[in-house]
């Protein structure tokens, strides 16, 4: 009885019901929804945004967020493929350079937020423009080709393999692995305790010796690295590194995280909730196209879901405190 009560009152319960509801509705309205081809499609792009949400969840629980993830998603593959296509480096070294530059971007975000006490909204908004502008400048706005380099690295990042009738990308395995690792860090480790304390009450955490600034900087770096990796994954899958790719992903990623029950104010959230949030928005995007709703109406549904979920989380929270 107590277990059931715990499940019903958990922040993930509402989103899970919504996800199940979406699947039931779309399956009823479109027989193609559960077809192997459609599931393969759904699972191809989901890991790329999904990976970014994992870093963003940890960062938001620590009380910050990052608007530059979409631009890093676009910039990192441009850098890697420019290095390779101009014969400046091998593909692997290009990959390391892109990841290293992403880490520096994350570090700069974290340093400006924690040391200069500038709100993360302003810092990462500025960084978004700097990084996107650099990607456009480097490429004159043209995509970089990526189809000429099939290697162990590209197969490891986004190789394709069949599972029965499904076509699965290795990126799905990386996403699942990263989700399990993030969940473990958040709930089972001292670092996870520090992340939650840094967002819940930073002054109290500092007084206990928690390295709040270091924790936040580490999470900014992690989020940037994951965004870069996701961008590189996408560039391999679609055979192009477009300097404009990832535009407005930051808002979609934050929406996924918030729908999953993570508090914008920090201190509270879960990886499982975020994974459900990712699936809710991806299934919605996929399903409304299948049932014939114009793609341009997508944002109406997303906005409604966000508002509905916020109302639900707020109600659950008030009920929790009223006890």
């Amino acid at each position: 009885m107590r277990l059931l009560q715990k499940i019903f009152s958990s922040a993930e319960f509402g989103p899970l019901i919504l996800l199940i509801g979406e699947i039931v509705v779309f399956t009823t309205l479109s027989p193609a929804f559960l077809s192997a081809g459609n599931i393969s499609n759904l699972l191809a792009f989901t890991p790329e945004l999904g990976m970014i949400t994992l870093g963003m969840t940890l960062l938001m629980i620590a009380g910050e967020f990052d608007l530059s993830v979409g631009s890093v998603f676009g910039f990192a593959p441009v850098l890697m493929w420019t290095c390779y296509n101009t014969h400046f480096t091998s593909l692997f070294v290009g990959f390391l350079i892109a990841m290293g530059v992403a880490a520096l971007i994350g570090f700069a975000n974290g340093w400006l937020v924690t040391r200069l006490k500038i709100p993360s909204f302003l810092v990462t908004l500025g960084m978004l423009l700097v990084v996107r502008g650099t990607a456009l400048y480097l490429t004159s706005g043209f995509p970089q080709r990526t189809w000429s380099a099939t290697s162990f690295l590209t197969n490891a990042i986004a190789g394709e393999f069949p599972v029965g009738e499904l076509r699965i990308y290795t990126s799905l395995l990386w996403f699942v692995g990263l989700a399990i690792l993030s969940g473990y860090v958040l709930t089972e480790t001292k670092t996870g305790n520090w992340i939650q304390a840094s967002g819940g009450n930073p002054e109290a955490a500092r007084a206990r010796g928690v390295r709040v600034n270091r924790t936040k900087i580490m999470l900014f770096v992690l989020t940037a690295i994951i965004s870069a990796y996701a961008g590189i994954t996408s560039s391999i899958r679609v055979f192009a590194a477009n300097p404009n790719s990832g535009t407005s992903y930051e808002l979609e990623v934050i929406a996924m995280v918030v729908i999953g029950g993570t508090a914008l104010s920090g201190g509270r959230g879960s990886i499982i909730g975020t994974v459900i949030g990712v699936l809710i928005l991806r299934v919605m995007r996929n399903g409304i196209v299948l049932i014939g709703v114009p793609g341009l109406a997508y944002n109406i549904f997303i906005g409604a879901i966000i508002l509905g979920m916020m109302a639900l989380h707020s109600w659950l929270e008030r009920r929790h405190y009223a006890r």
Partner: protein
């Protein structure tokens, strides 16, 4: 008389041209509860903030066990065994009781690289400390702080000071906004802390609460110490009120 634990000597504090503390000397012995009283603006909070590392004195020294110390921040004070519990308890509301108690000194099991929390040790420590502090109600260690009452939060904060082996616990208005039963509970938590070998400084506007729990009263008025070693058993509330306000006896 027991050994001296903390001594603040000739403490002066200026905020611009305003003098908040004027040559205050305060000593706390082991295993005693000292009531620090004074009207608004008397300098109680400033003195406590200097002792907890939140403010630095303009001049004067702090000694712990006779050794001079310099607190640059609250972490320094905690490292020297001084824990200050403010009205908001400085707890993380979203974290559980056990995770709050051990925050910053979490028990780890297995290889260090895995950084894995020892949940059974966390629960064991939490239930032991909650019993020690005098919480008799069955509260699971996994309960988030946000679900606790004001009195229970104070108890968790005191228990945390015990876990960090603090020698001196400073309680700043711990009974503010609490009901009668909860206040009684907090006063008992303070007595239990003394019985487990801790010293306390108890600051409260309500003199009745102070009289119920302290061994000695110190009074500040307009930044100066006007009374020390006042024994609550051999004085009256009226007499202490006159000391606080400066009215003639």
């Amino acid at each position: 008389m027991s050994e001296e634990l903390v001594r603040m000597e000739h403490i002066k504090k200026f905020f611009g041209r305003v003098q908040a503390l004027n040559d205050v000397t305060l000593s706390i012995r082991k295993n005693e509860i000292v009531g620090l009283l004074g009207d608004n603006g008397a300098g109680k909070s400033t003195l406590i903030k200097i002792l907890s590392g939140a403010l630095r004195a303009t001049s004067g020294d702090i000694y712990i066990h006779g050794e001079k110390v310099d607190f640059r921040n609250p972490t320094d004070a905690i490292a020297h065994g001084i824990e200050t519990i403010y009205q908001d308890s400085a707890l993380v509301p979203q974290l559980s009781i056990a995770r709050n108690l051990c925050l910053g000194r979490e028990p780890i099991k297995g290889p260090r690289l895995l950084d894995r929390l020892d949940h059974s040790e966390l629960s064991r420590v939490a239930s032991k400390l909650l019993k020690q502090v005098g919480i008799t109600k069955e509260i699971p260690a996994t309960t988030p702080i946000s679900a606790l009452s004001g009195g229970e939060r104070q108890a968790v904060a005191i228990a945390r000071a015990m876990y960090f082996e603090s020698e001196l616990i400073v309680l700043d208005e711990p009974t503010n906004n609490l009901g009668v039963d909860e206040t009684r509970g907090v006063l008992q938590f303070v007595r239990n802390a003394r019985d487990s070998g801790h010293s306390c400084i108890f600051i409260a506007h309500n003199i009745y609460h102070v009289f119920q729990v302290v061994d000695r009263i110190v009074v500040l008025r307009r930044g100066k110490k006007v009374a020390d070693d006042v024994d609550p058993k051999s004085t009256t509330i009226d007499a202490v009120e006159r000391l606080i306000t400066g009215m003639a006896l």
